[in-house]
Subunit: 277 residues, 4 copies
Amino acid sequence: MSDGAGEVVAVGEGVTRVKVGDRVAGTFFQNWISGKIDRSVMSSDLGGSIDGVLAEYVVLNQDGVVLIPEHLSYAEGATLPCAAVTAWHALVTKGNLQAGETVLVLGTGGVSVFATQFAKLHGAKVIATSSSDRKLEQMRELGADMTINYKTTPDWEKQVYELSDRVGVDHVVEVGGAGTLAKSLQAVRYGGRVHLIGVLSGFGGEISPMPILFKSVTVNGIYVGSKEMFEAMNQAIAKAQLKPVIDRIFPLAEATQAYEYLKSGSHLGKVVIQVSQ
Amino acid sequence: MSDGAGEVVAVGEGVTRVKVGDRVAGTFFQNWISGKIDRSVMSSDLGGSIDGVLAEYVVLNQDGVVLIPEHLSYAEGATLPCAAVTAWHALVTKGNLQAGETVLVLGTGGVSVFATQFAKLHGAKVIATSSSDRKLEQMRELGADMTINYKTTPDWEKQVYELSDRVGVDHVVEVGGAGTLAKSLQAVRYGGRVHLIGVLSGFGGEISPMPILFKSVTVNGIYVGSKEMFEAMNQAIAKAQLKPVIDRIFPLAEATQAYEYLKSGSHLGKVVIQVSQ
Amino acid sequence: MSDGAGEVVAVGEGVTRVKVGDRVAGTFFQNWISGKIDRSVMSSDLGGSIDGVLAEYVVLNQDGVVLIPEHLSYAEGATLPCAAVTAWHALVTKGNLQAGETVLVLGTGGVSVFATQFAKLHGAKVIATSSSDRKLEQMRELGADMTINYKTTPDWEKQVYELSDRVGVDHVVEVGGAGTLAKSLQAVRYGGRVHLIGVLSGFGGEISPMPILFKSVTVNGIYVGSKEMFEAMNQAIAKAQLKPVIDRIFPLAEATQAYEYLKSGSHLGKVVIQVSQ
Amino acid sequence: MSDGAGEVVAVGEGVTRVKVGDRVAGTFFQNWISGKIDRSVMSSDLGGSIDGVLAEYVVLNQDGVVLIPEHLSYAEGATLPCAAVTAWHALVTKGNLQAGETVLVLGTGGVSVFATQFAKLHGAKVIATSSSDRKLEQMRELGADMTINYKTTPDWEKQVYELSDRVGVDHVVEVGGAGTLAKSLQAVRYGGRVHLIGVLSGFGGEISPMPILFKSVTVNGIYVGSKEMFEAMNQAIAKAQLKPVIDRIFPLAEATQAYEYLKSGSHLGKVVIQVSQ
């Protein structure tokens, strides 16, 4: 469990950057403050190398927390550390997203939902895919301009191409694994960007790198992001009064059901466990 | 007269990029297609080194025109070549504007109005200044989040600082000349950007470069932009269905009155001369 | 035959950028002047979509030629349009190569040789691979700091890792196809760059995209480059008085032998056909 | 006294990034690890807001020191924190210096000497100025390609223009204050960069910002740099086995004479005080 938010109830000696009463979220990589990633960052992931945050109290370094926007509840703030920072890192920090560009998001997982919100915030168009018409309807409500049901349209990459003025999209937020990557490389424009993300599902298969070369594509591996990115994102969320999408909140006593619900895949938006009131 | 739009009525031999019937605008610098500026670009400005477009027919190179967005009239398309491209170049191409940032625009001239529209399109906050409460009201209608009357608040730079969370703004669209530049350097944050623009008024005075150094500011001289920037901007305008602000349209027979009206300074938005129906 | 250089012997009406007597080379993509690549560029490749330059006289657009550095012969200038521009685009334009970084070049083809020269010019370290000790010796003479014979060291990626301070290299100039790409992704550091190039051999196989994600790697597809890149490169070549490596020059009458020699693979550096004196 | 180097003799509890015996230098801004500058960084300057390093023992945070390159003595390592990091930040981190570009350095102070070394390391040309022919001779020995005595050539900006192929230089390392800045803006090319530096002398006068606008110049205020920049620079210094220039070393007992010698201005390169053996 990498993502959580709460109130600071005590600080150790020498702590200057947070104070008791601050409303904070932990950073996914506890050691990635800013600058470039390096290998030492990799072993500081909350809920992986380090004990996670499904707890009533956690101890974190002052450099491993950020203030959450004032207009967000703790439940909303708790949705940000992994999926939102990943989407921001991909589209904004690395991708330099500009108004007028078109973004393809695959599926309706957490990264895709935040990517849709951030793309709309920057004046971009969004094409969303899903196998569920109900979820596509929800994506439209969140701002997606065009949607494709990939179950009824298995060659969805061709439709993306048509929907992007027969040029291809500028950005693909690629969360789907090796199977979709080959299609994403068809859907992206010459000189476009594919943001390769996949913390949950992994990439089971293999792809031909040919289209990367022939279409002069940039493929960026994106692994969450730094504290500096998190803070820039929070500033944008605060100024736009943007609200994360929460599907459902479970009490701590029903944590197991929360995981089962998550596994069922019927959600769109974040599933939150409320540890205390 | 550098800015104009119209229909292509004839093309010369070997022309492949435009065809009869296309709706186009001329580019400010006829020789700046893309890439970096160099000195040779400077002597290709329409209405300056080259005869302007206050005419019923003009002859331009196929590389010196761009298609205007379909949802715009010719009058609207004619507002884009100088002021809009300048604002886009500053904030988007060079400035890498991101949601959550704050932009200060000085006055309510063409560049400031487009800068406000583009900043809002990218999810940024806008602080606008003017000596007219009526115009500040109009700027709020266009999306400005905060406004300052610099006549009643002569030390407006201090108020900008307060309005930007006592940090300073990320971007200043500086069109005001040497007098305002010193104040702009007070209003910008550490590590912020000042986009120096001023094709009309010029810069009468002198400034101390000290704050540039001590606040690690980047000052970018911005002189309109390239055809490539114009096309990226048009794509954004088309996708957002954004409308340029036209203050008033004069018929060709009243061109002199149009210039006088412009000189009176009572307008907000563009003053257009309609050459033909 | 995409690459050639020669003297301008005649210019058409309206030509202003070159004059009779200029020493020029053609650009690989006749339509890529500057800015981003798009699909229209792809069908303007000399020697592919357009007739090549194995000829005594060719007709090219004034935007499709660049001046070659004065210290180079025509034979030397003829080596630049494809391999050298590709290496420059990858390492310098896109890769922002800095002193202190380490570059891995695979094999001893034209791109790898130029990449070695450009990397050394920017103060970087170079690790070169080949199956021939003789060629590795030649690469050392050209400036390569470390060399690996991949025939005697089949798991060369491990040795690259050791040679790069157990961090991995900052850049891979990847010309080898799908087989080497998997190893290159092992050899590159967290957050490093793989420049994907392969105009000749193509990419026969498939790779797992997993390491791109887990190591936060950027993979850039590089397809030669623009006229603007060619001119920036020529400026650097001129100032450094850098000399392209020519393996052997054949007279026009022996063009067939030149191709056979090229196919034999025993060369290091460029094989040139001299059309006239 | 902001700059110093020495051996770690003891570490506090919880220190993981340095160990006893490490050879380190302090960072100029103790709080600037990486990422963007902000105001909080400004009050962490060694020898300014914080006690300096003219001492036998100093206590620094583990984030406020970097390992010095192995091939450097402590005296050499002590020259790096301010002048070298400033030059690196300007030309490499911000300026993206490329081979083939031309750099103008003003005078022969520490920043100008390091800028010359780093420019040569990246394959650039250097034009150096001084009022002393002896120092210009020394700059040539360090790699400067062209030199100008500004006492005998008071309109040196015109000569810079001639020496840079009548285009102007790509970069100016501007350390001279308001008087030289006006001339530097004449000497820089259209679209070029002026790196504004001046921690010691300050900027006494005022300048017209007009040329910044009309030549589309970028002026970057540069105030030393971050720990991340320092480490990237050290990597380059280590790989190139580059040696800082030391003019003279004084023993601690003669510290006063060292300052007087510095004030006399007859040095080229760093003046070092050796605290212990």
